[in-house]
């Protein structure tokens, strides 16, 4: 993952909520939803708050100084997963929201590889437009 490639969340079709460090993400178009583990939720929050990819690397290394060597590949893999699920998109006109003037405090838990779990069980509920006929006036008509 190139450090100069920045990302933004694909709003409004992608929405999320974090409770007690656990995050759920929902793609309103596909009906797929995702849960993030704790470190994944931290990175998601970093993207939401307008941090550059370089800053996200730095922040994650500051949170987990003992595992700093693992961070680049783990974060890159996580960003690639978010990208492949279209939860984030490249941001060409990126404005960094804030500078990292003070280091982030180390996390009070061991580093875990940021992870994304995907759920596809809402496909049946998502009321996609079914194949239908139209009446003589052109109004849709369920078969």
């Amino acid at each position: 993952m190139a450090l100069n490639q920045n990302f933004r969340i694909n709003v409004p079709k992608v929405i999320s909520e974090t409770i007690d460090g656990e995050t759920i993400i929902i793609n309103l178009e596909s009906g797929h939803y995702f849960s993030l583990n704790h470190s994944g939720g931290q990175i998601w929050n970093d993207i939401q708050t307008g941090h550059s990819t370089e800053q996200i690397f730095q922040l994650t290394q500051q949170r987990y100084p003992r595992d700093a060597a693992q961070v680049p590949s783990a974060v890159s893999g996580f960003l690639a997963a978010l990208l492949s699920e279209a939860l984030i998109g490249p941001c060409e006109t990126f404005e960094i929201s804030e500078k990292l003037s003070t280091p982030t405090a180390p996390a009070d838990r061991p580093f875990e590889i940021p992870g994304l779990q995907k759920y596809e069980d809402m496909q049946d509920l998502l009321l996609l437009d079914p194949i239908h006929e139209v009446d003589e006036m052109g109004w849709p008509m369920t078969k």
Partner: protein, 346 residues
């Protein structure tokens, strides 16, 4: 195409013409302090829309209703409908019609019922049209006007949710999660216990701490597999000649009206899970598990949802505890467990 507001006015005139031709029938209902007036052109839609909400009926409030919906069908009123002002490709998931919606008007076409709904969000009025009332499926009769009720209450910062609810006027629980996990069956077993019934598929959550859960529909739907659990209800089902695969629909009003609870302070969220458990039991889980059960299935079924909808649901799971309800193969063993839970939470 004319503006969405122009189209709304055009269809309002079509309704007026249909009402003159077939006669106007007015019914008024109340949910959570808001009055909802349904004006029908002729009787054809009354039996398709009203049974599910009849427990909420109040005296007609005249022109002062908080939300007014005009409903008609073309077939019984012999009223022609102008062609749709959109091309077929404009229909999106959940029937949203972007070209026919703007800041004021929200339009959707609900496949299955083949119903067009137009909501005037500024004036809290709406239009509901179908070609043929007889084509409305029974599952829609059980929980009618979902899109419009969701749109109205969303603007009040209330939330229409996919879930069942049971309890007492002093305390209730919300059963949520995807279909087929035992929500409806658990809710129905409460008819044979001390617990009251607020709904088996969709209910309304009002603001507050704790939030309040409100009954919307007095219907219950169950599959052929669940019919064996409720043999005494089978003579009462509304669709005895149902199509293959269609659920049985049963209205609790008026036959079981003493079991219906209008609203309850919400004390817990339960996620039913079917399993080989010797007896039902509760397992406390984190709030995010409650949100994972509640939010995706709610959002997948409603139009015009957004990050605000998810935030509202997040606020609910932060305020009340969430449990997994491990069900046993004997559904009627569940209500005593829920009664015990509610006694501890009141």
């Amino acid at each position: 195409m004319n503006s969405p507001s122009d189209y709304y006015d055009t269809l309002q005139a079509v309704f007026t013409s249909a009402a003159v031709r077939a006669g106007r029938i007015v019914r008024t209902y109340e949910v959570g302090g808001f009055s909802i007036q349904l004006s029908f052109a002729g009787p054809a839609l009354v039996d398709r829309i009203c049974p599910g909400v009849e427990h909420l009926r109040i005296c007609d409030s005249g022109e002062t209703a908080d939300f007014k919906i005009c409903l008609w069908d073309s077939l019984s009123t012999s009223t022609s409908m102008p062609p749709p002002p959109w091309q077929d490709r404009h229909l999106r998931a959940k029937g949203e019609i972007p070209g026919l919606s703007d800041e004021r008007i929200f339009a959707s076409f609900q496949m299955g019922s083949d119903a067009l709904s137009l909501m005037d969000q500024e004036n809290s009025t709406a239009l509901f049209w179908v070609r043929d009332a007889e084509r409305i499926p029974w599952y829609e009769t059980g929980s009618p006007l979902r899109y419009l009720l969701h749109l109205f209450y969303q603007r009040k910062d209330w939330q229409y949710v996919h879930g069942a609810a049971v309890g007492y006027p002093e305390a209730g629980v919300l059963l949520t999660g995807k279909g087929g996990m035992g929500k409806s069956t658990t809710a129905l077993t409460c008819l044979f216990s001390n617990l009251g019934y607020l709904g088996d598929d969709y209910v309304l959550l009002g603001p507050g701490d704790p939030p309040t859960v409100h009954s919307l529909y007095n219907s219950a739907k169950f599959t052929a597999d669940s019919e064996n659990f409720f043999p005494e209800l089978m003579p009462r089902i509304a669709n005895p000649r149902k199509k293959p695969g269609e659920k049985s629909v049963f209205f609790l009003y008026p036959g079981f009206k003493e079991k219906l609870v209008r609203s309850s302070p919400l004390k817990a969220i339960l996620i039913p899970r079917i399993g080989p458990n010797a007896e039902p039991r509760l397992e406390s889980v984190s709030p995010i598990e409650g949100l994972k059960a509640l939010a995706p299935s709610t959002l997948a079924q409603l139009p015009k949802t957004s990050s605000t909808t998810l935030r509202r649901l997040g606020d609910v799971v932060r305020k009340v505890p969430t449990y997994v309800l491990h069900l046993s193969p004997k559904p009627r063993e569940t209500p005593p467990l829920l009664e015990s839970l509610l006694r501890n939470l009141i």
